[in-house]
């Protein structure tokens, strides 16, 4: 090895503490980068293959009932490549071992399903055989949640009759990668399952022979989506069409792609922050190194080493740190990717989800980190290259200090000499001090951000499940029913209080903007489901007029006082102009609320309901469940406590993981910044401090100067960091402002306290290390060095 390389290695070894700190910060960024990109890559690839092999449809529509003859006309729509018509029915399920009813979705399978759209993937057992009675195949997540398999049965209420469904196979479907009940925030695998059953069976049970209520299409590559949608809507309108939509609006697909988009954002934002901090730390450390090696550089030049070789010498040191970081980051990133894969398979059902780390991602990681490392140090290395050797040999003049702003302002009386040293030192290097503050503030803010997610989710849970939804059960009916149905429910055992609702599928239109949503018609004086704002003030539902989710209002570009066109997609399909009376901040999906009597007036009908909210006697729940399972009109029952619990379980586990990762990362940044800062100022001032020791200052006194600086920096940075954290939270809130879900901007006080505490502990720890180094300060050696 050449002598110069040997010097490089020894320099690296000499600054191993600082190099390690930088390595760790950089590795965090690379780990996230590698994890997020490989995740995006793996997800996208898995998704594409799955969709392709199983012919996931591109256009979807539901309707009330249409004769099979309509199918031919749909297939003839220009641009349609393949078509599939089915019957899809909502049923309640009675699953062994579960008191409350579950909700099932029964989907008809054509006898000849090979080559059809939305093909199933058989995980276990077999497909149903034609004419073999009530055989079904069941979605894997539901089967797993109940330990069901081929040979087991569940009971379903089909059109009012209890029927055994015999499971012969366990399957996956590209339509239900994310198997979520509409309106839910997270999948509830125990209480929502999808079943596929022979067409004839389902048609017979629901009097749908020769008819269908669901269409999927795939398109030719040159087809115009909007035109196909328009054609399809025209054809299905007379048959109770609920409006067709494209793959981007398909619920499962929307969740999966939403996740991919978020990962993409993560892959850019988080590594940028970490690599920027690492670049800053590298800059500080390498600048310092080059400063202390001025004379060595001059000698190397004197000996005849050319500029580029000297530049390359330092670059090699930087690249060595970076390469270690990339190796570490890639390993950790790949590991995090595989953990995340494990975690994803809880939510996303793929036949195979193979996590893979492609070489191009590692190359990208290398390119990105090289770019940031070089950007951070180019200036310092350039200075080394340009250093005039003759000048560098001359002893450096004492650094120029002057009274600081504080002192010039007449405050010097209040500053001890030690305090003056600290303030002058900080003020003389404003950029470095500022950047150090920025680094510590950044660490603080990351901690705030990490905990904010938890605060926000807590808030949403409390808001949704305690303040808005105050019922125990929500029961939806197969069809709209008269108030007689209400009194039947009211008199079920265990029902203490009961309020009706009427849900309506509509398309809201304002100028060229339109959205398919459900209108929720509520009792305006109801207590079980309240439309409230974030201050818990009830938003009144007027005699006429809609209250929209704030997001929906934005998408339609309407506000209070404006009018929207309501195109009802059910029954007589009236079209009406309705004023918007208010907007409400809510967090999941997009809703439109209306007084139930207003809904009925809009439909020109009397007292009709499609379901009820129930508050029930906790002691008589089982009895109530049993009755509900047998009621033929009941299409579905949602148990709030169960939903809340499943939400909590999944979320709690994930939050803990996220929080741990966040804390580790923030501590690495805080420690990296504080420690490096302390090391540098110690090296810059060791002469000064040694001199003080020689003239009689005690260890404690000089420690005060050194640690005081650290304390000043930390104390200035923490409030700034808390503010910055609030800023991140606000940014996150607007980034998550989607149609699927939103999160409120609420940061708990304990979050701020937590962030400040963790950063202070990291600072304290660096302080202890510095203190130890100060104790070992070799007075004679320090004073002897000619710097």
């Amino acid at each position: 090895m050449s002598a110069l390389n040997r010097k490089m290695l020894r320099d690296l070894l000499h600054m191993k503490g600082q190099a390690l700190a930088i390595c760790l910060v950089m590795a965090c960024g690379i780990a996230i980068f590698v994890m997020a990109l490989s995740m995006v890559d793996s997800l996208q690839r898995t998704l594409d293959t799955y969709y392709d092999h199983h012919r996931f449809a591109e256009v979807f529509a539901h309707l009330k009932r249409a004769p099979n003859s309509l199918a031919r006309r749909i297939a003839e729509i220009p641009g349609v490549s393949q078509m599939q018509t089915r019957i899809v029915q909502q049923v309640t399920l009675d699953v062994p071992g579960m008191a409350e009813p579950a909700e099932g979705r029964l989907i008809s399978l054509p006898d000849q399903h090979v080559g059809a759209l939305n093909a199933l993937y058989l995980r276990r057992g077999r497909f149903i055989e034609p004419g073999s009675g009530r055989e079904v195949v069941v979605s894997e997540s539901f089967a797993d949640a109940h330990r069901l398999g081929p040979g087991d049965s569940v009971t379903a209420v089909l059109n009012g009759r209890r029927q055994e469904l015999r499971i012969v196979g366990v399957v996956l479907s590209p339509e239900y990668i994310y198997q979520i009940r509409p309106g839910d925030l997270l999948p509830d695998t125990r209480r929502f399952g999808v079943f596929w059953i022979a067409y004839d069976e389902l048609a017979a049970a629901f009097d749908m022979q020769g008819a269908f209520n669901d269409v999927s299409l795939s398109l030719m590559s040159d087809a115009s989506e909007p035109q196909v949608l328009r054609h399809l809507d025209e054809l299905t309108e007379a048959y109770g069409g609920l409006g067709s939509y494209v793959r981007d609006d398909q619920l499962s697909h929307k969740f999966v792609t939403n996740e991919i988009t978020q990962m993409r954002v993560t892959a850019v934002v988080v590594p940028t922050i970490f690599l920027a901090v690492a670049a800053f730390l590298l800059n500080v450390v390498i600048s310092r190194l080059i400063n202390t090696q001025r004379e060595q550089i001059a000698v190397l030049k004197g000996i005849g080493y050319p500029r580029r070789e000297i530049g390359w010498h330092y670059m090699k040191l930087i690249l060595a740190i970076m390469l270690i970081a990339v190796a570490l980051g890639t390993t950790v990133g790949a590991w995090m990717g595989s953990v995340l894969t494990e975690f994803y398979t809880q939510f996303y059902q793929f036949p195979v989800f193979e996590y893979g780390l492609d070489a191009w991602i590692v190359v990208m990681a290398l390119v990105v980190s090289t770019a940031s490392a070089v950007a951070g140090t180019l200036g310092a290395v350039w200075r080394a290259m340009r250093l005039p050797p003759a000048q560098a040999m001359r002893p450096q003049a004492p650094e120029v200090y002057r009274p600081t702003i504080l002192e010039r302002g007449g405050l010097q009386r209040f500053l001890s000499p030690a305090m003056r040293m600290i303030v002058r030192y900080l003020e003389r290097r404003p950029v470095k001090s500022l950047l150090s503050c920025a680094g510590i503030a950044l660490a603080t803010s990351i901690l705030v951000l990490g905990n904010y997610m938890e605060d926000a989710i807590d808030y949403v849970m409390d808001f949704e499940f305690q303040r808005v939804k105050r019922y125990d059960l929500s029961v939806s009916l197969v069809e709209s029913a008269s108030s007689a149905a209400m009194s039947q429910i009211r008199h079920l055992p265990g029902v203490m209080h009961c309020e009706p609702f009427r849900a309506l599928s509509v398309r809201l239109r304002s100028a060229h903007r339109a959205r398919r949503v459900g209108i929720m018609g509520l009792d305006s004086h109801g207590e079980l489901y309240r439309v409230i704002d974030m201050n818990e003030d009830v938003i009144p539902l007027p005699r006429r007029g809609l209250v929209l989710s704030r997001k929906l209002g934005e998408l339609l570009a309407v506000g209070p006082g404006d009018t929207v066109t309501v195109e009802v997609l059910q029954e007589t399909r009236p079209v009406r102009e309705v004023p918007v009376s208010g907007l409400v901040e809510d967090f999941s999906g997009m809703s439109a609320y209306m007084d139930i009597r207003a809904v009925n007036r809009l439909m020109r009908e009397g007292d009709r309901v499609t379901g009820a909210f129930i508050s029930a006697d906790p002691d008589r729940m089982d009895l109530l469940y049993r009755e509900l399972k047998d009621l033929p009109q009941v299409a579905g029952v949602t148990v709030k406590a169960a939903a809340l619990e499943s939400f909590r379980n999944t979320i709690a586990q994930n939050m803990l993981l996220m929080k741990t990762v966040n804390v580790i990362f923030a501590v690495i940044i805080a420690f990296g910044v504080v420690y490096n800062n302390a090391r540098i100022s110690l090296s810059e001032r060791s002469r000064e401090l040694a001199t003080l020791r020689v003239i009689g200052f005690t260890r404690v006194e000089i420690s005060m100067i050194q640690l005081g600086e650290l304390a000043v920096l930390t104390l200035i940075s923490i409030p700034a960091g808390l503010l910055l954290g609030y800023g991140w939270a606000a940014l996150t809130t607007s980034a998550f402002d989607t149609e699927l879900f939103r999160i409120p901007l609420v940061v708990d006080r304990s979050t701020y306290a937590f962030a400040a505490t963790v950063v202070m502990i990291a600072a304290l720890f660096s302080g202890l290390i510095v203190r130890r180094m100060l104790d070992r300060l070799d007075l004679v050696a320090v004073l002897k060095t000619n710097e």
Binding site: V299, I303, G304, Q391, M393, R394
Partner: protein
Amino acid sequence: MSDHSSSQPVRDSAAATADAPAVFEARGLTKIYHVGDVDVHALRGVDVNLYEGEFVVLLGPSGSGKSTLLNILGGLDVPTAGHVRYFGHDLTKDDDRALTQFRREHVGFVFQFYNLIPSLTAMENIALVTEISTDPMRPAEALEMVDLSDRKDHFPSQLSGGEQQRVAIARAIAKRPKVLLCDEPTGALDVKTGIVVLEAIERANRELGTTTAVITHNAIIAEMADRVLMLSGGLISDVRHNTRRIPACDLVW
């Protein structure tokens, strides 16, 4: 800066050493540093020749421009005005790359504070030079010349000042340079150690025939030289030829 401006420049007569060819010919060397609003005239038009194989000592008070002159001759610095020719080649026309090449091939430097690379051993410090030279000695050989073979694996911090300076000399001569330029090589050393260091320089001059220039404040060291150049106020104020060179070991002060 200087109140010596009245003193007449002394022209170094080439005739005195006419038998050897000139290694350096410097003409009208001027160096001005701008410090704030003040111009510091470090050199005010120096004319000087250095001849092949000769041992020259530069004497002069602090601030008289000795280091500046040496640095310019060695291609470590460039003059504000004037010319330096090295075997007829005008160094002042060279860019950084060419000057680097010039130093790498022809010049050995020794500095007052030794300036060894602290993270490299004695041997490795020398290897630093031999690795990039065309016809170097072996590092061990160079250490041998300064009598430090037994210290080859010591780091600078494990060597005394005198030993460090001898390693620095070994490092300077290992490439078999044409010229050896030493800026106060004994400035930081005591008498006894200083003499050992001077012996090493003397030996390089004698055995390798290296043209040697040594800066010092110490008039006694001038006894070693073929020729003594006196600088003051950025000008050569006097030139002295020693009829007899006194070996370093016989110097007394």
